[in-house]
Symmetry: C2
Subunit: 429 residues, 2 copies
């Protein structure tokens, strides 16, 4: 395992210098190989499905595990859209003339080696490995054990196709056991970033057991807040979509907050709409004065239901809504419905979440919908990358300084001084 | 302590919405208060110096601890240059029209609460707290105990002046004991980022004992590599400055690498120049065939001397130099001296360090020299911010989405499609 990580690290340094054309050629060959060998992939996936059914994997997980012809076509489409995105490595972010003949450039580069631990969906393996390839990063992949046969053949196809296209060997590797993961968490000399996709507890476990930086893709306790002046039909429509469009995902709304002045008119309309979708309402005492519902406890404000359940709280106004969200939310996505530009601005300024919305559904926070192509997940952390994380989140930069013999002593002794002039040029080498 | 951190967190949310004018007014009042109360500061510092001398603090540390009139004038100048920098919060980084009336903006915002643990220099307290203020972050400050009286009065002056200018109370707090630090490391619900300034071991200790993200300001094992075609006088000048301009800092060069074809001409010239500065050379066997020196062991390539000592290794060419640096370096700063554009490009592409230089001294990697104004330190990590970290490294962004009632179901059912059109406008609220 140590040897494996060392080899991926070595390859990643070479991969960092691979041009956009070579990487796109490799992506094209991966897409072709996946299509060509789809029968084998489907066969391997069938083994996973049969075994998992015997092991009584719940139906929703079985559904996520399934990797059929349509899913293969989807991931191939994803690879093609990734090929269409501009080359992310080598972009000049800042250029400054420090002095005559002494020019500083801040230039994007890959992070290095990324360790990704993902859940049962096999399409995650394809998305993550191709995002890492396009961004020039080496990658260690660990998928759910339910999907082991599917992951094995997908990894084999992707790694081989990339290497045949000319990508440095060993840029990617598949880990298969839980003990591989605990070893991986110790290898901070080879691995630069760990991305765990899974529950909050899982992400915390990883953070507590590794000194490698972790980009957290944790739970989502998302909110909709309905202001006094909200258009009621719009507020109902947004609340229903935020809650029910797909309940099992992190950007679904879990708590609805409503201004006490809007509550008498809004809550009955909301209840009528949610009843048609069989959503259970768990309300605070003021909510229950307006509509029937189960009583909410303190615990409900902290709970991610991922189910047809919505907690509802009546608040005095936008400031109480902001306080509630900052106290109980998970910094994921929160939306305000209001006709007031000032209240929207206040909400978007002070709610401390990665995604703050005005007059639209919380379900929009997603890399594809944002136009980023693919995503490795949604970060609720506040360092490096926040919200949906696409190619850019897998990059960092280095400073490149071009001189002509300059030494610091000349500036320390004041025989020369810095001019710090902004340049418009790209890094010239 | 828990209560203290909670209060700073609460204040940080308000501070995030403070405008540039208010923050600059507070900085101006801080500068004025420091000048007005300089006698008291110098008196407090005298107590620290007397106590530390009694406790036999080494002379270089005593020198760093000293905070006299000239140093106060320096930090006040620093605050004034910080005031001149553009407001960093609220900048639109990306704007996309997702669909008609549905606009996405990526807007800079503060990280939240920063915990900074710094060494004995009292000017660090002023620089860090004012950088945090300008970037809108709350801050918990822990300085070296040698400087406790100086830190106490500086913190009191800064916090009071800012609050009198209208900054939310409790935006900053001073911690005084070691047990405060261990408690701080547990408060991931209130603290978003820890910046430890100190030795590699200290940074690792922090990483191992906290799930709060750490921005590492670790040691520097920096290299100069002299190519076959290097201009010898230029190479000597750069090597001498990189090693001796200030030996006790992280961007001083520790190892010199030289192409075997340049060694016979270059090394004698280097030795002559280093002898005048009393630098001890520790050489590999090939080096010792050309110039007299102590023998280098494997350990020397991994050692940060921070002293008048230089390890020297003869290599076969630029690729061996790159491999050596990536194996033994700390990812800080490395410089190549060469006449060849191709070799410089190769070196700057494949050396995996935050700062890669061509034909200039490693001592240039510094926030002030780069034109960033102040810095919180130099990061050798590869996430979030790399190299010298100024205001930008204390910021993150949030996504702000403005709609007019849009729901995801319409896009899922394909009754509407995304257009993802780039916009040139700033966030309008």
């Amino acid at each position: 395992m140590n040897e494996l990580a060392r080899r991926v690290k070595e390859a990643s340094i070479k991969l960092a210098g691979a041009g956009g054309e070579l990487k796109n050629k490799a992506l094209a060959e991966i897409a072709e190989a996946l299509m060509k060998r789809k029968e084998q992939i489907i066969e391997a996936n069938r083994e996973d499905l049969i075994r998992s059914e015997k092991e009584n994997l719940p139906a929703p997980l079985l559904k996520r595990l399934k990797f059929d012809e349509a899913r293969i076509a989807d991931v191939v489409d994803g690879i093609k859209s990734l090929m269409g995105l501009p080359e992310p490595v080598g972009k000049t972010l800042l250029a400054t003339e420090l002095d005559e003949g002494l020019e500083l450039y801040r230039v994007t580069c890959p992070i290095g080696v990324i360790g990704v631990i993902f859940e049962s969906r096999p399409d995650a393996l394809v998305q993550i490995s191709t995002l890492c390839l396009k961004s020039g990063n080496g990658v260690l992949l660990k998928g759910g054990s339910e999907a082991r046969q599917t992951n094995r053949i997908l990894a084999e196809i992707i790694i081989r196709a990339a290497e045949e296209a000319g990508i440095p060997p060993n840029w990617a590797a598949l880990l298969e056991t839980r003990s591989d993961v605990s070893e991986m968490l110790k290898m901070d000399q080879y691995i630069d970033l760990v991305i765990p996709r899974g529950s909050n507890d899982f992400v915390r476990y990883i953070m507590d057991n590794s000194r490698i930086p972790v980009m957290g893709h944790a739970d989502g306790i998302c909110h909709c807040y309905v202001e006094e002046d909200a258009d009621i039909p719009m507020a109902v429509k947004i609340a229903v979509d935020s809650k029910t469009q797909y309940v099992a995902v992190c950007n679904a709304t879990e708590t609805l907050l409503v201004n006490e002045k809007a509550a008498p008119k809004f809550l009955p309309e909301l209840k009528k709409a949610l009843d048609t979708k069989q959503v259970e309402i768990i309300g605070c005492s003021k909510t229950r004065e307006v509509i029937p519902s189960s009583p909410a406890s303190e615990e409900d404000w902290k709970t991610e239901y991922l189910d047809y359940k919505l907690s509802v709280k009546v608040v005095s106004g936008v400031d109480e809504a902001i306080d509630h969200i900052n106290k109980y939310g998970s910094g994921h996505t929160d939306s305000i419905v209001t006709a007031s530009r000032e209240k929207a601005a206040r909400f978007m300024e002070y709610v401390d979440s990665g995604n703050v919305f005005w007059n639209c559904s919380t379900r929009f926070s997603d890399g594809f919908r944002y136009g980023f192509g693919a995503e490795v997940g949604v970060s609720t952390g506040k360092l490096h990358a926040r919200g949906p994380v696409g190619l850019e989140g897998l990059l960092i930069y280095k400073y490149k300084l071009i001189g002509s013999g300059q030494v610091v002593e000349d500036y320390a002794s004041r025989s020369r001084t810095f001019r710090h002039k902004k340049l418009d040029s790209d890094f010239p080498l």
